[in-house]
Amino acid sequence: MTDQKTIKIYLYTRFERLWHWFQAAVVITLIITGLEIHGTYSFLGFKTAVRIHNYIGLTWLTLFAFFVFWLFTTGEWRQYIPTTKRLFSVVRYYAWDIFQGKPHPVQKSTHAKHNPLQRLAYLGISAMLLPVQMVTGLLYYLYNDLQGFFALSVLAGIHTLIALFLLNFLIIHLYMITTGHSVLGHVAGMVTGWEEVTDTTAIEDWETKAVRKN
């Protein structure tokens, strides 16, 4: 590690950082208020929790549409294309090599911001959990106007399960950011946009598919 030199690259654009922190705040707020609505604890008061949950949920839902628009117009969606290549070595890294102080097998670059394991996780979250959570949330919100359409209990069951899965993700995510070059390295990256990466081999061709070649 010591013999490798680190460089700083501009990894996250202002929009991406803004979206990231906005979404972080939103999801955390929704989990806190959601679990109160679920009856797990009382904190803000049921009425307040419901009100905040609904406002934040709907706001996020609307903005998410813009996010999806951005994702597709910029081609950034390619960052999430799942790959099994080097997936195993990333898994092995976190399961084993990290304890030995070995370097991360996949380097970040502007064209490949996420490693294969992240891709899979974020794709699962963004493409599966969040949309389902938003849809069930919206249906829950509109339940009174769409009566007879579906059972509230089923909706609530799915919504609660995913809420807890997202809490699960949050815990792992918060932990994973401590695995950067320094404990707060990744945090700084997401705040400033500049991330410290090890200057190793050139980015391989398969990782840069996000760039149009013609």
Binding site: M1, R14, R17, L18, W21, F22, A25, I37, H38, G39, S42, G45, F46, K47, V50, R51, N54, Y55, L58, T59, T62, L63, Y94, I98, F99, Q100, G101, K102, Y143, N144, A151, L152, S153, A156, G157, T160, L161, A163, L164, F165, L167, N168, F169, I171, I172, Y175, T178, T179, V191, T192, G193
Partner: protein, 543 residues
């Protein structure tokens, strides 16, 4: 670098705030305490500037300028102008005590086969003590003449007593007695002319003391409503809207709007905007079906939950109400004599002639689905004595659009039933042969059932019963309406008994919660171990 961070944060905060304001006008636009709930606005409008007025001064009416010697004479004087009043009134349940329009149908009504678990039966008007609440003269029941003053007089004068005295004084030879009769008749004349529309006391004289005493029967109707404050009842409160009963219990041809045994008060809930001549008996009549502020979650409740369920947090808030009456305990003596024992609230907990009672104050209602109709077990219906008999029970079904979750007082009782016929029995209570005099239940039943023309096998026992009464008065000011967590809470939900719907905060699926929390805990443990691993291996660094 630092500048950048600060700038980013500022940007983010501004953007989020802007989006929130943009998307949620209610966040920014609704000042606290602004009173823009449409339901209140509508109702205020509906009762605005409606002072009652009249073209008649009864003091100037020649027909009333008389020395009356009997109640019937007074009534005839009324009818001399109000020619149809008695005819109309004779057709109403207030007069006949029978629910059906067909007055030969004895099934429901206290002059028919209906029973409750208080004083049990009206014994076809044969139990004369019941008739103190019949609006005729001198407890003559439907045989007598209508006593208009019972509901239309504000003097508080005891006409029946005075007229009895007048009669006996006039019979007397003594001229002094005649003088006294004349004086009394002057008083009567003065009192008679104080004609009014019924006020709370007029209705309350009977309806506040149903079951034989203040607050015995209803729980949401007792003498505290004669002059309530708005904390007790926003509509009737003298410092509130000061409504009389008839403000909502509107009347056509002396038929007064309200539920009659199994018949709901209205066929369907309508606001005055939909039908301005509909009775004003439902909350929706004046407040509409969407009474809360436009963005309020509460409006999403109104198709399932009645207004009363949240806006009457508890009943019997000033005077206590009877919650249990056990007839099987009657007959105990103290020193060989009947006795009364008072308990909490200064209310009797035991009476030799009536049995054992329980009273409560600030009672939290029980909640049932209710479409406005009650099933009623009469003295002519077969019961299952192995179970608690529901003498009166709300009818309602989740799929019925008229049904709402509604608050009830459930009065529990133990009362006699026929062991052979399996029917509730109707003992006669007052009078020289009544149970209260003889303390002989078997004989009282024999006589009581005879008044109804219902057979009695000669063998009785006591059976537990419940009697449900809808709670709809004593509407509290809005700040005292129930908080969400009175129902949306895991263990102590007021709606614990209503299990056919999913309620956030109350309900959950054990499997979902278990899987979810195990995964959360799993993540936590994994992260902890991984972190400890890294810490102790020092990320493989050798120093």
């Amino acid at each position: 670098m630092k500048k950048r961070i600060v700038f980013s944060c500022k940007m983010a905060a501004t953007a989020i705030a802007a989006f929130l304001c943009f998307l949620s006008p209610a966040f920014a636009a609704t000042p606290e305490n602004s009173d823009d709930a449409p339901g209140r606005r509508l109702a205020r409008q509906a009762v605005k500037g409606s002072k009652q007025w009249t073209t008649t001064d009864h003091k100037k009416m020649e027909a009333l300028n008389k020395d009356f010697t009997s109640g019937e004479e007074i009534t005839r004087a009324c009818i001399s102008c109000h020619s149809e009043a008695a005819t109309q009134f004779h057709k109403t349940i207030h007069w006949t005590w029978l629910a059906s329009e067909d007055k030969t149908d004895l099934r429901y009504g206290k002059a028919g086969f209906s029973v409750n678990n208080f004083c049990i039966s009206g014994n076809a008007m044969e139990d004369k003590s019941c008739l103190s609440c019949h609006p005729g003269w001198d407890k003559k029941g439907v045989q007598g003449e209508v006593n208009c003053l019972k509901c239309h007089n504000s003097s508080g004068f005891n006409f029946e007593e005075a007229l009895t005295d007048v009669k006996s004084f006039l019979k007397d030879e003594d001229p002094e007695a005649h003088e006294m009769a004349k004086d009394l008749q002057q008083d009567i004349k003065k009192a008679v002319t104080q004609v009014t529309f019924p006020d709370r006391k007029s209705c309350g004289d009977c309806h506040f003391t149903g079951g034989g005493g203040d607050g015995v029967k209803h729980g949401d109707l007792d003498t505290s409503l004669t002059k309530p404050n708005r904390m007790l009842d926003v509509h009737m409160g003298t410092d509130g809207k000061n409504f009389t009963c008839t403000r909502c219990h509107t009347t056509t041809e002396h038929n007064i709007a309200g539920r009659i045994y199994t018949n709901p008060a209205v066929e369907s809930r309508k606001s005055l905007i939909e039908d301005d001549l509909a009775p004003k008996i439902t909350c929706e009549s004046c407040h509409s079906a969407m009474p809360h502020k436009n963005d309020s979650k509460m409006n999403d409740h109104t198709d399932v939950v009645s207004c009363q369920a949240c806006h009457i947090p508890s009943f019997a808030r000033v005077n206590p109400t009877m919650m249990m009456w056990d007839w099987s305990k009657t007959g105990k003596m103290k020193d060989g004599k009947p006795y009364t024992e008072d308990g909490e609230f200064g209310k009797p907990v035991y009476k030799t002639i009536k049995g054992e009672f329980k009273w409560e104050k600030n009672v939290i209602p029980e909640y049932y689905r209710f479409n406005g109709s009650l099933t009623s077990t009469t003295a002519d219906d077969v019961i299952d004595p192995g179970q608690i008999v529901k003498v009166s029970q709300p009818v309602g079904d989740k799929s019925d659009p008229q049904t709402r979750i509604f608050p009830f007082k459930i009065h529990r009782g133990k009362q006699p039933y026929d062991k052979v016929h399996n029917k509730l029995l109707a003992p006669i209570l007052s009078g020289s042969k009544g149970f209260w005099t003889t303390l002989d239940m078997n004989d009282a039943i024999e006589r009581g059932n005879k008044t109804l023309g219902l057979p009695y096998s000669g063998q009785f026992d006591y059976v537990e019963t419940t009697y449900a009464m809808p709670i709809t008065h004593m509407v509290a000011p809005k700040e005292n309406a129930l908080a969400c967590t009175e129902c949306h809470i895991r263990e102590t939900s007021r709606l614990a008994g209503i299990t056919d719907l999913y309620m956030p905060g109350r309900d959950r699926f054990r499997l979902v919660d278990t899987i979810g929390w195990v995964s959360v805990l799993g993540a936590f443990v994994a992260v902890l171990l991984h972190g400890l691993g890294r810490f102790f291996m020092r990320n493989g660094k050798e120093d």
